[in-house]
């Protein structure tokens, strides 16, 4: 299994991107929070593709089909 890590990528024009990898559940938000708080203001947060494929199912499709809000569920 892949280890948990946070990658901080800063471009030459000063733009900052934080990427959490290898997390399940809400832990990934906590993992990057300590950095986003000191680095500036979060302007966008995107869930990665694997977030939508939990337990082997495509949650996004289930959500669309049944109109369920899955944002609060753990990954």
């Amino acid at each position: 299994m892949r280890g948990k890590k946070v990658v901080v990528r800063i471009s030459d024009d000063g733009k900052i991107e934080l990427e959490a990898e290898g997390y399940k559940g809400e832990g990934c938000q906590e993992a990057t929070e300590f950095l986003s708080n000191v680095l500036g203001k979060t302007i966008e947060s995107k869930k990665k593709a694997e977030w939508w494929f939990r337990n082997g199912r495509d949650v996004r499709r289930i959500r669309e089909k049944f109109g369920i809000n899955t944002n609060k569920l753990c990954g």
Partner: protein, 140 residues
């Protein structure tokens, strides 16, 4: 769950991170130097930085020397640290700091991340890519 956050850089400078940034980049942080190198007088070709008066240009509390002709002044204003410099091209700072000081922001952000990692005893490794630099933090 995994995610990607875009963070907007905020100009909130703190002295210790500035010192650490200078050390990491091989720049000088000159404590208590009250004048930084610049053209020497404001000739009105660009606006004076917000909150500063014309006669305050060139004066500072500390200096950052990035190894070019002109220097960066570190100035305390209204309880906050501000960075001021002359961006006349021949002074060398625009090339060194990048457009809109992007390379300075990058160096400062990296110093902040290193600092937080050390505080939390997290292991990290750094990488330099084409057009960016990154720090990979091992969270296990």
């Amino acid at each position: 769950m995994s995610h990607v956050d875009q963070i907007e850089f905020e100009e909130k400078w703190d002295l210790q991170t500035l010192r650490e940034m200078c050390q990491a980049e091989g720049w000088g942080f000159i404590e208590n130097r009250t004048h930084y190198e610049w053209f020497g007088k404001h000739i009105g070709d660009y606006p004076i930085p917000v909150g500063f008066r014309k006669e305050e240009m060139g004066r500072c509390d500390h200096v950052i020397d990035v190894g070019v002709r002109y220097q960066i002044g570190v100035v305390k204003k209204m309880g906050e640290w501000k960075l001021v410099w002359d961006f006349w091209h021949s002074g060398g700072l625009p090339d060194k700091l990048g457009p809109k000081a992007g390379l300075l922001k990058q160096s400062y952000s990296l110093a902040k991340v290193r600092r937080e990692c050390r505080k939390r005893r997290l292991r990290f490794r750094e990488k330099r890519n084409e057009g960016s630099r990154e720090i990979e933090i091992l969270m296990d």
